[in-house]
């Protein structure tokens, strides 16, 4: 039973957990920035007129969405060395995370762009707005409301997904739980502490998503 639940050990390991908490934040943060770059590029390719670019982006998005992240991580972790590319586990992990989330972000962005009826662009053109004004007052406010909430949802998924990096020996929150389990044989203390830290990130992002949903949706007319 958990009568022996040992808070003292948790406090003893707290500096280590905090270090791993920052590591998780870093990995997810860098992964998110990478995913935004990849996603924007893939989305631009997908909606570009070129058939070649659009097919290439389509293949990328569908193959990422149809395979598990864990398989993708292993693919890079075991696959890059056989191509002669030797990088650290952290870099492999962040690349895998970025490519994975990038596919989902590309779809979110596409939905955002396509949510603006073409008539609005035409109307703003005929009202004599400049390109900048059109973007600033017509396209951006509407696309933002459609894009930001699912984007924050994807950020939540990304943080949780970064737990899988512990399986390729990246030191982050889940790995901290594993290390505590193997050093002290205290799985309950280790994994519950990890879970609490994840929940802290989750609730922050969730309340941000809730706020943005209320604040940013630019009046839905349909």
């Amino acid at each position: 039973m958990l009568e022996t639940f040992n808070f003292r050990v948790i406090f003893e390991y707290m500096p280590f957990f905090l270090k791993c908490f920052t590591a998780t934040l870093w990995l997810s943060g860098v992964g998110l920035v990478g995913a935004l770059a990849v996603g924007t590029l893939a989305c631009a390719m997908r909606i570009s007129g070129s058939k070649l670019l659009s097919t290439a982006a389509g293949v990328y998005i569908e193959s990422i969405r149809s395979t598990p992240l864990l398989v993708q991580i292993y693919f890079f972790y075991f696959g890059l060395p056989s191509l002669g590319i030797m990088v650290t586990e952290e870099i492999t992990g962040v690349v895998a995370l970025s490519l994975n989330s990038g596919a989902y972000i590309a779809e979110i962005l596409r939905a955002g762009v396509q949510s603006i009826p073409f008539g609005q662009i035409e109307a703003s053109l005929s009202s004599g707005l400049s390109y900048f004004q059109r973007m600033r007052y017509i396209v951006f406010p509407q696309a933002l409301g459609v894009t930001i909430p699912p984007m924050l949802g994807q950020a939540i998924v990304l943080v949780k997904d970064s737990a899988l990096l512990s399986l390729i020996a990246v030191t982050e929150l889940t790995r901290a739980g594993q290390i505590m389990t193997s050093e002290r044989f205290m799985p309950a203390e280790g994994f519950f502490t990890s879970a609490v830290f994840y929940l802290v990130i989750y609730f922050m992002l969730k309340s941000l998503a809730g706020w943005s949903e209320k604040r940013l949706i630019f009046r839905e007319s349909r």
Partner: protein
């Protein structure tokens, strides 16, 4: 060199098929159980009873806020401390069912809330019982929103089932992990694993998109 690897990979193909069956078995059992529990919780969540609403909401938040990997470690390593000793397979089913139930509960609750309140009032003033209202008025309309997301959620759960490989369930991901120790060509081995997942998941993604279009058409 890689030709040699390829021949050996083809030779171990039956092993991959066994793993694929395990993936399908784990996913199918947990999806079926998760759907049942998820619908039950989802309906319960939209009832006026506050206690149920908050309890289910809190549990869903805890499950959605923590990585599945941590959940599976908790089921596998911590339940024994409460005297519940589970093998890898039942532990995987338990964790995945719980995850599925939580996500499906949210989908069902959102679907039920999307049905206009007037419909329920009309049904109630026509003298339908609570159960009849749900069965004949609310659910058929809610399914419009629920069905496409439900199929999309199945895809996510099948993909999440790859994580159970870490506690020793020999699913297709674990087969890949075991094979790569003997055939050191990660691109080839995990390319094959990815392909096997793709064969299952891609048709489901297409189905989800199709349903979404079809349901959207029906509303107009």
């Amino acid at each position: 060199m890689w030709k040699n690897y390829l021949t050996r990979l083809v030779q171990s193909l039956p092993f991959f098929i066994t793993g694929l069956w395990m993936t399908i078995a784990v996913s199918a059992i947990s999806l079926a159980a998760g759907t049942l529990i998820g619908f039950f919780l989802g309906i319960l969540r939209t009832r006026p009873n506050r206690l149920f609403r908050y309890l289910i909401g809190a549990w869903v938040d805890v499950i959605r806020g923590t990585p599945f990997l941590v959940q599976i470690f908790i089921v596998f390593f911590i339940l024994p401390e409460f005297g519940i000793h589970l093998d890898a397979f039942p532990a995987a089913i338990l964790a995945l069912t719980n995850l599925g139930a939580c996500f499906i509960c949210e989908i069902v609750a959102a679907g039920i809330r999307s049905v206009p309140w007037g419909q329920k009032e009309a049904a109630s003033s026509s003298g339908l019982t609570e159960w009849q209202q749900l069965r004949y008025v609310v659910m058929p309309q809610a399914m419009r929103t629920i069905l496409p997301s439900l199929v999309g959620q199945y895809v996510l759960l099948i993909k999440d089932s790859s994580v159970v490989s870490v506690i020793g369930v020999t699913d297709v991901t674990r087969v890949g992990w075991l094979t790569v120790q003997r055939i050191p060509h990660g691109l080839m081995v995990f390319g094959l694993v990815g392909l096997l997942y793709f064969i299952i998941c891609y048709p489901l993604i297409r189905l989800s998109n199709l349903l979404e279009k079809k349901m959207a058409k029906g509303t107009r």
